[in-house]
């Protein structure tokens, strides 16, 4: 009897061992250090949360997230994607979060499915690329209409000359603002490396626009809002999703008050997710964290559907018409473009508050 029991136990152990768990690596190419690290760090937290939950949901899968830091440099973004594909064996690559980074990544690796949470540049189209956000022409156009609806007759554009995102969004803003009856009275350029933007801002005192569209990363946005306040400029500043960071209010204090920018989601709609996220990381999520979470969930769903091999993931991707994430619904068109609603956020009392959606 004892021998029979031992044999049965042995059989059970061997049977258990023979259950094959499919291993899948989800690579993340993110801005974990460098000037845009707030984006990458938030995105990483979202991915970590999503992978933990997916691992519980799909016990037959062995999911592993590998994070590589592109130091907010496009050249490093290309190297990170190569390493994720050739060294880590990633089935899917998430990131980078910026358009320049994604361009560089695709120039090096275009045979692995890439999901970018927040790269908004219009020209970012590739067969194996999907993004979980709107594009720059959508958000710039939406902000142009918003500005006109709010009664602003004249606006100036303040463009980061080193950023494709900034140029593209500004062009879309200009087009829709003029179509809506407004006038663009000035077009100013600044460089992200400038230690001081006041010589550029001086022109705003000369032209006195009612609104200034500033599609720039949060660091430059904060510096410009702060310096504008010091120069006594009281014009309404409008921004893009690149301004979304809790650091914005911390960097420029009261100068951010009343600043309106476009974003991918309304924080008020994320009550449950915020609670879960805050419990794990000790702070509320930004849009980058939410879209990082959604990107990881999309990657997992592709692996579940197509298997861990890259061809299977690619096949699953081609059948995808939309994705419902925590950050809202994204529709994918046949040419690889994404469509998503644009939400307006206003900073009030140092807190980003959601407004109407377009």
């Amino acid at each position: 009897m004892r021998t029979l029991c031992l044999l049965s136990a042995l059989c059970l152990v061997l049977t258990g061992c023979s259950v094959r768990r499919e291993h899948a690596v989800i690579g993340a190419n993110l801005e974990l250090t460098g000037r845009l690290c707030a984006y990458g760090i938030a995105c990483r937290e979202g991915i970590e949360l999503a992978i933990t939950k997916a691992q519980r949901q799909y016990p037959h899968l062995s999911l592993r997230a590998v994070f590589r830091d592109n130091r907010s440099e496009n050249s490093d973004a290309a190297a990170c994607s190569l390493a994720l594909r050739d060294v880590d064996g990633a089935s899917v690559i998430i990131g980078p979060t910026t358009s320049g980074g994604v361009h560089a990544s695709l120039s090096a690796v275009d045979d692995v499915v890439t999901v970018t949470p927040t790269a908004t540049q219009d020209s970012l189209i590739a067969p194996l690329l999907r993004r979980l956000c709107y594009c720059d022409s959508e958000q710039g156009g939406a902000m142009g209409r918003y500005a006109a609806q709010k009664g602003y007759k004249t606006a100036a554009l303040l463009i980061d000359s080193s950023s494709d995102h900034s140029r593209c969004a500004a062009e879309a803003f200009e087009k829709s603002f003029i179509q809506s009856g407004g006038t663009v009275c000035d077009r100013l350029y600044f460089s992200a490396d400038d230690p001081d933007h006041s010589p550029t801002l001086l022109r705003l005192l000369k032209t006195s626009p009612q609104a200034v569209y500033l599609p720039a990363y949060y660091k430059e946005t904060a510096a410009i809002l702060r310096q504008a306040r010091m120069m006594g400029i009281k014009t309404q500043f409008l921004g893009s999703d690149a301004a979304d960071s809790p650091e914005l209010a911390a960097l420029c204090g009261d100068a951010a008050e009343g600043f309106v920018y476009t974003n991918h989601l309304d924080p008020a709609e994320l009550v449950d997710f915020s609670a879960e996220y805050s419990e794990r990381f000790g702070h509320p999520p930004t849009a980058y964290a939410v879209l990082g979470y959604d990107a990881a969930n999309l990657a997992v769903s592709l692996i579940v559907k197509g298997g861990a091999d890259r061809e299977g993931v690619a096949d699953a991707l081609f059948g995808l018409s939309h994705f419902d994430g925590v950050g809202g619904r994204v529709d994918f068109s046949a040419d690889g473009q994404s469509k998503k609603r644009v939400t307006f956020i206003k900073i009030e009392g140092k807190i980003a508050k959601g407004g109407e959606a377009v």
Binding site: A38, P195, S198, P199, T200, L202, R226, M231, E247, C252
Partner: protein, 282 residues
Amino acid sequence: MTLSSFMSTALYTASFYGLIAIGYTMVFGIMKLINYAHGEVMTVGSFAAYLAIGLGPVAAAVISALFCAALGLFCERFIYRPSLSRGRDPLICAVGFSLLLQYGLAAVFSSAPISATTRYDGIFVAFGIHARTVTAVALAVSSTLALTLFLRYTKTGMAMRAAASDPLSAAACGIDIKAMRALCFAIGSAVAGITGAAVAAFASISPFMNADVGMKAFCCAVIGGVGSVPGAMLGGAVVSLCETATSLFFSSQYKDAVTFIILSLSLSFFPNGIVGRRRDRV
């Protein structure tokens, strides 16, 4: 737009460039060395002030100046002096030290920008002129005056000028050339520390914030006359006025180009700088 806004902006930028250029001019005047790490020493000063801002702005500036002076001494004693004594070009050591400071700060504080305080942002002194401009101008004028008087009328200052002008003869007269060089580094770095503290009070700071500023400030020092403290300030004023006017009347896209055009013209017509009469001048 009023004239006061234009002057306020131009004066702030002039003072900012001038204060950084002083550090370059001091070191180059006596050692014939471009201290490539000078901008990063100023960044260290900003972070020292960030840590000490709770003690008040003046205390933070003093702590920042002392810390940066000590850093300047360390840099001279353990990086440039050994390199020069072995007949090697210290420029590459300066580049290495600059990178070490940038990435060291990034490792400790992260590379994301941080803000020490925003409590002084809303302070306007008069006629729309912000406290930031007044602070920068006060620092620039007082530093220029103090250093000029020190170099012209004190024994140590005269010894520094002698060491810059003719090191061999100065050494024969009993002047400790090494001590003069160390002092030069300490003074230039202390000014950078005070400037860094002023920046931390009115702007966000990050480890890589001065990576490009140093080049511009060095241009100011060359335009004004390398080795001359008032020349550094004058160079800063010329560059600042031209940059501000270019941004206002044309586009800020061209302001860097204008700076380098001025540098080219200056090197063509005033090879020793606007106020530089001799090559070796402190």
